[in-house]
Amino acid sequence: MRVLVVDPDPARAALVAEGLAGVEPLQVRHAPAFDQVEAAAFGPDVIVVASDSPDRDTIESLREATAANPRPVVMFVDRSEPGLAEAAVHAGVSAYVVDGLSAARVRSVLEVAMSRFGLMNGLRQDLEKAKADLASRKTVDRAKALLMKERGLDEDAAYKLLRKLSMDTGRPLGAVAADLLAFAGVLKGGGA
């Protein structure tokens, strides 16, 4: 079975390919964009497309056999598996089948792709959160340093003051620290 993964995100496509390698003997190719000539040369049985690929509508349109497109392509929608179609849309992936491949084999490919897309989304969110946490910690450190300098507080007292401000206003510590720095910048007449 040959699987073409059309995904503008190379890291995610690599993750899908790695997941598929363990499933069954097959050939996987990744294309950041869909090229009909290249695709025809590879001859995929299944095309897995990311929903953020602009080429999805092109693939979707290959439903009719023509000279240039001898093997029609149809979207794989398996209604026998409740919730599968919905889960695939939410995961941001869809599968197109070339010719009559058995539903069970296509489903296994789609399921791997869905789980890998989910994994990638999770990793991306964790990374964003880690970046935000790091930025917030740096902001808090700078606000603490400002309070220590301007108010002659020790580090512990500066931190406690920030935390009190945070609790009084019901806003995150990082946001309170950012406000404090911005305010200090305004008073100084320059940028924070």
Partner: protein
């Protein structure tokens, strides 16, 4: 606040949705709307189908096709988002044979000559099989005796990639809604051969599409949503220069305002009851779908038109705005 997610594709005719957000009309109706930009129509359709989007900017024929078929949940269109906007842009070489009346007669002669010479055929691109663009292009070609299924090849490509395809010569003509026709002309890729408004005055193009079941369960939210978008459409109609600047922002259409501004010219967003989902438009689009075998056999076109196009929902919203 009711929180909603609405999808759109980067095109001028998403203006009413974008303006409703940017100008605070959603908020005034108690709606908190996330506008989600998608890069393909199939994804817009699927996300509305499974409820990942509450509604979307959608090709009118796509809403009709989804409801006519058995695989997807039925949709309703409580309002149209624009009239006019699609244009056929041809490579400079092809555009040279188009006569002042903008007919495809010269193109027919060129195709016949190329065939006699054994040269390769002409490939054109539209945005989706079920689209005003596909039907418009097919109608224009047919009027000059060109068979769109035999004499040319019609591919599908995403709007934002059209310019690149025309420049590289992969296709020799495109039919897409503005600003992407204008963007291709600005890039020197070709010339506008004919505008939708020249062929079919007041061309139906995009609608607001909602899942029928969700709309039935949430009548008040639907009314608030349609009122907000109607106000967005009215604003878009009257504030063209500011609209061009708004659409040009990276989160929306992301094309230069200088390209967008002139491409808005013949587009109608609100004037003359442009937002009324006109059953005559639905019937006309369905007739095109029948003509090109795009509807399942035995479908009752009149029933589909009446089910999808809901002027009753539009009128209720319009009247409550007028009363307020």
């Amino acid at each position: 606040m009711t929180r909603l997610r609405l999808g759109f594709v980067a095109l001028n005719d998403a203006a009413a949705l974008i303006a409703a957000g940017a100008k605070g009309f959603f908020a005034a109706e108690g709606l908190e709307v996330d506008l989600v930009r998608e890069v393909s129509w199939a994804t817009i359709r699927d996300k509305v189908d499974v409820g990942a989007l509450h509604g979307a900017h959608m090709l009118a024929p796509m809403a009709l096709a989804a409801t006519a078929g058995a695989e997807l949940r039925p949709l309703v269109a409580p309002m149209a988002l624009n009239l006019n906007g699609p244009a056929v842009t041809l490579s400079s070489r092809l555009a040279g044979v188009i006569d002042p009346a903008a007919s495809a007669q010269g193109l027919a002669a060129l195709i016949a000559r190329r065939r006699d010479e054994g040269a390769s055929g002409i490939t054109l691109a539209v945005v989706f099989p079920h689209s005003t663009h596909n039907y418009l292009l097919r109608d224009w070609l047919s009027r000059a005796g060109i068979d769109p299924d035999r004499d040319v090849r019609i591919n599908v490509a995403p709007p934002a990639r059209m310019t690149e395809l025309l420049v590289s010569g992969v296709v020799e003509g495109i039919c897409v809604t503005e600003p992407w026709g204008a963007a291709a002309v600005t890039a020197g890729a070709g010339r506008t051969a004919v505008r939708a408004s020249q062929l079919w005055p007041r061309t139906p193009d995009k609608v607001l599409a909602l899942a029928e079941a969700w709309a039935a369960e949430n009548p008040e939210v639907v009314q608030a949503l349609v009122r907000a978008i109607l106000r967005g459409a009215a604003w878009a109609e009257r504030n063209r220069p500011e609209l061009a600047a708004l659409l040009s922002e990276p989160a929306y259409v992301a094309a230069p305002a200088a390209v967008i501004a002139p491409s808005l010219e013949d587009m109608i967003f609100h004037a003359g009851e442009a937002n009324a989902p006109d059953p005559a438009h639905a019937a006309w689009l369905l007739a095109q779908m029948v003509r090109w075998n795009h509807l399942p056999v035995g479908v009752d076109a009149a029933a589909i038109a009446a089910r999808v196009y809901r002027p009753d929902l539009y009128r209720a919203a319009r009247d409550s705005l007028a009363a307020g």
